[in-house]
Symmetry: C2
């Protein structure tokens, strides 16, 4: 089927789901999960084909993202069932007023309609995204990366089976059958068919969407996350937080990329940082240092680009700043607006930082790694928005909804 | 100043306003209103130049939109003072949770940053938009249509004076000094400088923005609004509502453009409609009828385009439908998603209509003319969104805000 046909089908049936009650949607989700579990061998087989086709071109960490196991598929099914447990975001009365003229005005949450998701090589995104779309009453059109296409296709076929088994159109979850750039472009320009486009992936994909999308689009993901260690920091907390933010999972968008250290404590703190991230670690972090930091600890001299790079690796750019204000200014200039943290015991400095830093998540004395739908208590996540329109930070079910006004009267005119 | 310079200035100073308290913003608003009142002659003079330049090219109704009087300027100042009375949308804690690990996560409303507004020939939009931007903590960059440029420029200069008088940078309210298409394009593509773009105007402007905007943009305004008269309608209510929705102000986006009538009552109702809208009126409405309606009452035969046209005039397209479902399907196909109404005494039919019609405002037994920030109790309006992302329907102060997460911990790592 062409991408156009897929979009038409999705648009054609999305109102069925928009009108479905919570129980119907949850039954669909459990049936999708059951279908995954019942068809593990077929998914593994498709995934093996993806893996063997990609083994010479992808890095080990990318291959690991692509790989499925029985356990991972079970986790995908569990993930779907967890979405079923979440509160239904649709049909909530967000606001209700009675006007002096007697009109009753309700603002009610409704699904977006058709949500398109362009992603790359993690096959589990396929089932996660489908589950969140169904629960929020949306049809979804998925466009997987080339490397994961066979896996994603097998998963979507099985999810459709699950939907059909409870009498719900399979066309509510569809996979674009073409992994060329053209199909991404078709989704980006499908005005009237795509109500929300979410690109999930690297900086290149996001940039492509920002430049080419004509449909409503949410920028997600790219995270050049900063941690600023204030002169009034508890330095032992700072070391724990930085090690966690940098090394617990360097490939993800909420991992730390840049450390800013107040000049007054740089002589004392930087050697501790060097010990913690380099000397004490089996997998040392490569430090890229501005000239002030390089005068204190060993490391690679940073070039300008290092402060504008999402390394997604065991690499950390380090700079010394003169004040919280300078740290805030540096972040304003170099951040992608994802997550930043300050380590300080001074509440006033912390408040100034949280007020002035214009990012989706601003932390005081904890790791940037918490920017995540699950960690925020949303129960799930469709991506992390780094823009300010509609959704910011982790996007859960509510962020996949719009609202409409319903106004009841008895003949009022204006 | 070039548009680029204006944008840089706006971006450079918007954080000052983002951090300002309510009292400071209100003082700025009152000072802006005072400045308008103190400079009425200068504004009238600029407006006279606009009027005389436009008198041969604009229609009388467009000239009326452009014209300012002392009274209209006083109303603009009053409008600004009313915005000062509204609750501050910034800094509200929209949600707060304490997670099991002790993290306290707050979702707090924050300004967008820089809001750009492209509009056409109503000079009062200049002060309205500026007031809403200031109250919501945003810098605004305004781009007026050519016909109103002198008026808008005089108004902006005077508003800046008002800001400066209370020590607030005038650059928070700026007018683009170029009214060519190029300046609109510059705003649409100012990625990193414009946080929100709102086009306010005709279908051509909106379309241009949808096709060319690279910055987050909200579609506003175009309204092909339908009223469906059900077989169980109170026909006298229906006539009052239709006359109001069509004729009280035909040039606005919430005016009715299409009437759908249930076949079972068409023979009875259409002659009443013809009498009310044509025979009984000094300014008769031109009816454009589908074949079924044309078999019952006199009027002009409708062509296909008539059901996809925002007439903004004393013209109404009329069609006969077989059922509420057919009315809903017609609306789904032809509506711009602005405002639709059903007239029925059957609550179940009404619920089905409000559920299935996917428009910003769905009315039962009242006029579509109520789609308006003031009528909805928002106290103001920056435009009416016909898209589903971020804001839908009348946009008030809250809709000019984003949010950020502020997370406080004491050393938490993940």
């Amino acid at each position: 089927m062409t991408t156009q046909d897929i979009l038409k089908q999705a648009k054609g049936c999305c109102s069925i789901l928009a009108a479905a009650d919570t129980e119907t949607k949850n039954r669909a989700l459990h049936s999708m999960a059951d279908a995954l579990i019942a068809n593990i061998p077929a998914i593994l087989q498709a995934n093996e084909m993806d893996m063997s086709a990609a083994k010479d071109t992808l890095s080990p960490s990318m291959l690991d993202r692509l790989a499925l196991t029985t356990q991972r598929i079970e986790a995908m099914a569990d993930g779907i069932r967890q979405v079923a447990q979440l509160p239904d975001p649709v049909g909530k009365v967000l606001r209700q007023v009675q006007r002096p003229n007697g009109l009753i005005i309700e603002r009610k949450s409704v699904p977006m309609g058709v949500v398109a998701i362009i992603y790359e090589s993690r096959p589990n995104v396929t089932s996660d995204a489908a589950a969140l779309a169904i629960k929020s009453g949306n049809a979804c059109v998925l466009r997987s990366g080339k490397d994961a296409f066979r896996s994603a296709n097998a998963i979507v076929n099985i999810l459709q089976l699950g939907l059909l088994q409870v009498g719900i159109p399979g066309a509510l979850v569809q996979l674009v059958q073409d992994t060329t750039r053209e199909s991404a472009r078709e989704l980006m320009t499908a005005v009237g068919y795509v109500d929300l486009l979410i690109p999930r992936g690297g900086a290149g994909l996001i940039q492509n969407c920002v430049e080419n999308a004509r449909v409503p689009c949410i920028q997600t993901g790219t995270g050049i996350c900063h941690i600023y260690v204030d002169k009034e920091a508890d330095q032992s907390k700072a070391l724990d937080i930085i090690e966690n933010a940098k090394t617990s999972r360097p490939s993800v968008c909420n991992a730390m990329e840049v450390c800013l250290v107040h000049r007054d404590i740089a002589e004392e703190f930087l050697p501790k940082l060097h010990k913690r991230l380099v000397l004490d670690r089996q997998q040392p972090v490569q430090l890229r240092l501005d000239s002030s930091a390089a005068a204190i600890i060993p490391g690679i001299p940073a070039n300008e680009a290092d402060f504008d790079t999402e390394f997604l690796d065991y690499i950390l750019a380090v700079a010394v700043v003169d004040s919280p204000e300078q740290a805030i200014a540096h972040i304003g200039q170099h951040s992608t607006g994802h997550s930043e943290a300050i380590i300080t015991e001074n509440a006033q400095t912390a408040n100034c930082f949280t007020q002035m830093v214009d990012s989706a998540a601003v932390y005081v004395n904890c790791s940037t790694r918490f920017t995540d739908g699950g960690e925020f208590g949303l129960g799930c996540e469709m991506g992390i928005s780094t823009q300010k329109l509609h959704a910011r930070g982790p996007m859960g079910l509510e962020e996949l909804c719009s609202y409409k006004y319903v106004i009841r009267g008895n003949g009022q005119i204006r």
